[in-house]
Amino acid sequence: MAGLATVFGSGAMTNSITEIEDNDVLFVIGSNTTETHPIIGLKMKKAVRKGARLIVADPRRIDLVRFAHLWLRQRPGTDIALLNAMMHVILAEGLEDKRFIEEWTEGYDEFRKTLNEYTPEFAEKLSGVPKDDIVRAARLYASAEKAGIYYTMGITQHSMGTNNVFAIANLALLTGNLGKENSGVNPLRGQNNVQGATDMGCIPDVYPGYQKVHIPAIKDKFERAWERKLSDRPGLTATEMTEAAIEGRIKAMYIMGENPVMSDPYMNHTIKALKGLDFLVVQDIFMTETAELADVVLPAASFAEKDGTFTNTERKVQRVGKAVNPPGEARDDLRIITELSNRMGYLMHYNTPEDVLHEIGSLWPAMAGMDYRRLEKTGLQWPCPTKDHPGTPYLFKGGFPRGKGAFTPVTAIPSKELPDREYPYVLSTGRVLFHYHTGTMTRRSEALNKVIPEAYVEINPEDAMAIGIKDSERIRVSSRRGSIEIKAMLTDRAGRGMVFIPFHFREAAANVLTNDALDPYCKIPELKVCAVRIERI
C-alpha cells in the first residue's frame, strides 16, 4: 500500500470487482486468486469466458493457470526482473502510451534509461521465464484497451515488496492502463476489513483517511476533534513492535483480534517478544496462540454478534448486521474500548456504532456521505463525500491525488535469504481454499477439517524423488530459525527447487521457518521466500 500511495497518492484497488468481467486482458501476478479470493476468481473466469486473455505469473501451478492463455513461472522473488523486461519490450516495440505518459506522469526520461539492461534474455536468466513468453506477455498487456493488473501477497511479502509494487505501477503508467473503467492496478486485500482498518488509521504514521500525524495542521484538526494533545512522532509498525519488545522499549501491548504468534514470521522470536512484555492484553473470540501469552484475555463478539461496517478490497463500505447475541459475557469491541477508555480518564460516549461512523465522516471527507441507511442495500465505495454522492467505482479518473503519477525506477535485487548448499530449497507460504489465516475459525469447522485435516508441504515430484521422499510421508523441513515435521504432498503445483506450506496449522506452523527480514519502506516481512532444508525422518 505504501508503494501505491507513493506513486499515485492513494493506496487501494483502483477498480471495482464488477469491472473485472469486462477486462480485455487480465494480468494476475503473485495472487492465487481462486483460493484466496474465490469470488474475485469467479469474475476472472467469467472474463475469460467472455473473451478476455489471462496472463498468470506465479511460481506455482495455481488453479487459475487452467484458465490462462499464458503462464509465466518466475522463480520466487524475481518479479522485478520479469516486470522490467516486459517494460523493456514495450519500449523497444513502441507500445507505450505516449499521450498518457506526457499528460499524467513524471520522471519518465530518467526511468526509461533504467530499463536498458533488462532485456528478455537477461530476465530469463534471473527469473527462469522463457524470453519469448516475456515478449508475448508484454505485447498482450500493452496492446489491450482495458487491461487490469491483480496482485496480492505474492508481490508484497518480500524484502523488496514495495519495489515490486513500484514495478507494477510503472507498467500501468507506461501503458496508460489507469484511471478508466476496467483498467488499473488492483491489490486484492486478504482479509474482510484490511482496507477498513487501514482507512481508519490503524497504521503508525497516519490518522483516519491517510492524514499524516506529523503535519501540524492535521494534528491540530484531530487535537480539536478529540480534545487531547496528540503525539506527532510516527509510531512503530507491527514488526518493529516485536523488535522493540525484545529490546525492552515496549513494555505493554494491547492486541485486539489478531494472532501474531501464528501470522508473523519467525514464531519463536514473536513468542519471546510477547512473553517479555510487562503487560499484555488480548481481546479475541477464541483462546488463540497469542492469547495464551496474555496477562488479561477479554472475550469479544464475532461478526454475527454486532453492528458495524466492513470495507472490502474495492473500497466498498458494507453493513455488518447483528444476528445473534454473543455467548456468555462476551462483549462487542466497541463497548470494551469505550469502557476501558473511560476508566483511564479519556471519556468516550457513543449511543450506537453509527455515531462512530458519523464521527469518522466528520474527520475524513471520503466517508462523509455515508450513513447506515445508505449502506443498507449494496454499500458505497469511497470517496463518497456528500449525502447525494453515488460513491466511486474506479479511482484516478482525470488525475491522481498527488498530481501526476510518478515513475519509480527499481532494480532487481535478490531476496534476503537464498538457497545454498545447506538449505537448498526456497520456501513460500500462503493460504489454501479450505482454511483461513491462522485457522482459529476454520479449523474449528468439522467439515472443513475433514477436507484438509492437517498441514502439508507441496514438493515437486522430481525433487522428492531426488531426496527419496514418497507421497504422504512425514518429513522434516528446517530453516535457520526452526524446524517442523510435516506431511509431504508430491505435486507439480510446486516448481523445482521450491516448496510451499500453508500457514494455517499450529502443529506444523510454517512461520516457525520463515524469515523476519523486512522491506525497508513498509516493514512487511519476507514471508514468500526463505531457504529451507528437507529431510526424511
Binding site: H37, I39, L42, M153, L188, R189, G190, N192, V194, A197, M200, G201, C202, I203, W226, G235, A238, M241, A252, M253, M256, G257, E258, S263, D264, I285, F286, M287, V296, P299, S302, F303, T309, F310, N312, V317, V320, G321, A323, P327, L340, R343, Y346, E359, I360, T378, G379, Y436, G439, M441, T442, R444, S445, E446, A447, P453, F505, R506, E507, I524
Partner: protein, 376 residues
C-alpha cells in the same frame, strides 16, 4: 430491436432476447424448473412451453429467441394441460416426503405442484431408489429428489469452472454423477446447492435445524477474505443455522466454501465467554498445545479448555478485568511514557471498532504505536 407481442401486450426487445426474458420484462409469469437466469438455457424441463403463431407445436420459451412481429401465447387450457402432464411425469417418481424435506417451503417443484393442484398421480410406477449416500462433509446429494434439470452441472462448469459433476447413464437410469461414482470431491462452493430447485442438494449442516418457522434473516457481510460478499444469515433461537446470498449483490449470490459453510465457529463451545486474568507466572512454559483433532473431528473439546487454562488463568468480572487493565496501563505509562505502550488492531474487526481503537491509543494513551498485521 424486435417488436414482439406476448399475451396481447407488445414490447420492443434487443435481438437475441429469449421469449422467456421478453415475457419477464412484461411481468408475464411462465413456470420454469431448469432455467436459471445466470446459466445458459437448456430447455430440459419443458415447463416453459408457449404457443407461437405460425409454429405448429408448442416451443420452449427459454431457448427460443424472439423474432420481429412474433405473437406469443403463454397460457391457454391446452398449454396448461401439457404443463400439468409434464409436472405429473416429473413427480411420478419423486419421493412424497415434503413433510421431512429440508427444502419444503422454498422448493420450486413443491410450489408448482401446489399451483397445478397435483395430489394424486396418474403415472405412478417404478421409482428410482438410491440408497448410497455421498460421504462428503458439506453437500447432501439426494438423487431420488433430482429432476435432472442440470442446473448444478451448469453452474459447476459455467460459473465455478470446476466440472465436478455431469449427467451419466441413460433413460430412467440417468443421474448426476461424480467421477467414477465416488464421493463428491470438489471445491465445495455450494453453488449447486444454491441453484437446485428441489431438495436434491442441501447443506448437510442445515439438517433439521429449521425451515421457515421462527427464522429471522439478517443481511451482513462475509467475515473471511476481502471480496466482501453479501451474506444472509438464517437465524433460529439465537443460532445461525444456514447462510445464503442474494443474487442482486456484487457476488451475484455465489459464495465459497468458507462463506457458505464455515460458520460453525460462531457457536463453537471454545468461544471465550468470560474475562480471564493470568495466575501462572509468565515464564512458566505453557501446557502442551492440544492438537487439533485429525481426520475430520475438528475442534477442541470444551472440557479440555477449562482444565487446560484453569492452570494459567482465572475467570474475572468485567469490572475487575477492565479496572485491572486501566490500572496497569496507567502505571506503565507513568513510568515509561506513552510510547512504551503499543496496540495491534484488527483487519477482522469493523471500521467503527478500528477507529475507536486507534483513537483510544492516540488520544487515550498518547502514542502512535498502532498497527495491524495485514496492511501491506
Amino acid at each position: 430491436m424486435f417488436k414482439v407481442t406476448i399475451d396481447g401486450k407488445t414490447i420492443e426487445v434487443q435481438e437475441g432476447t429469449t421469449v422467456l426474458d421478453a415475457a419477464k420484462m412484461l411481468d408475464i409469469p411462465i413456470p420454469t424448473l431448469c432455467h436459471h437466469p445466470k446459466l445458459t438455457p437448456f430447455g430440459g424441463c419443458r415447463l416453459c412451453i408457449v404457443e407461437i403463431k405460425g409454429i405448429p407445436r408448442p416451443v420452449t420459451s427459454c431457448t427460443t429467441p424472439v423474432s420481429d412481429g412474433m405473437e406469443v401465447t403463454t397460457s391457454n387450457p391446452y398449454i396448461e394441460d401439457l404443463r400439468k402432464t409434464v409436472l405429473e411425469l416429473i413427480l411420478s417418481d419423486h419421493p412424497n416426503d415434503c413433510m421431512v424435506c429440508e427444502k419444503a417451503g422454498d422448493c420450486t417443484l413443491q410450489e408448482l405442484a401446489y399451483f397445478y393442484g397435483i395430489r394424486e398421480n396418474r403415472f405412478e410406477g417404478e421409482r428410482r431408489i438410491y440408497t448410497k449416500r455421498d460421504g462428503n462433509p458439506f453437500i447432501e446429494r439426494d438423487l431420488e429428489k433430482c429432476i435432472m434439470c442440470g442446473r448444478c452441472v451448469k453452474v459447476c462448469d459455467e460459473v465455478e469452472g470446476v466440472g465436478a459433476i455431469d449427467f451419466g447413464y441413460r433413460g430412467f437410469s440417468s443421474k448426476i454423477c461424480t467421477p467414477f461414482g465416488k464421493d463428491l470431491n470438489c471445491e465445495f462452493c455450494g453453488q449447486c446447492v444454491a441453484v437446485c430447485p428441489t431438495g436434491a442438494l442441501t447443506g448437510k449442516m442445515w439438517k433439521q435445524k429449521g425451515r421457515q418457522k421462527d427464522i429471522k434473516e439478517i443481511e451482513t457481510t462475509c467475515p473471511y477474505c476481502g471480496c466482501g460478499c453479501s451474506l444472509t444469515l438464517h437465524v433460529r433461537r439465537n443460532e445461525v443455522i444456514k447462510i445464503t446470498s442474494r443474487e442482486d449483490t456484487l457476488n451475484e449470490g455465489w459464495l465459497c466454501v468458507k462463506g457458505r459453510f464455515s460458520y460453525s465457529f460462531i457457536n463453537s463451545p471454545d468461544r471465550l465467554t468470560k474475562p480471564l486474568i493470568r495466575i501462572a507466572p509468565k515464564d512458566q512454559s505453557n501446557p502442551p498445545l492440544p492438537p487439533f483433532v485429525k481426520g475430520g473431528r475438528g475442534g477442541i473439546n470444551n472440557s479440555l479448555l477449562v482444565t487446560r487454562y484453569s492452570s494459567l488463568f482465572r475467570e474475572a468480572s468485567w469490572d475487575e478485568a477492565v479496572d485491572y487493565i486501566a490500572k496497569r496501563l496507567k502505571t506503565l505509562k507513568d513510568k515509561y511514557g506513552p510510547d512504551a505502550i503499543a496496540g495491534l488492531s484488527s483487519a477482522r474487526c469493523t471500521n467503527e471498532e478500528n477507529y475507536l481503537f486507534q483513537k483510544f491509543m492516540r488520544a487515550g494513551i498518547g502514542t502512535n504505536n498502532i498497527d495491524h498485521c495485514a496492511r501491506y
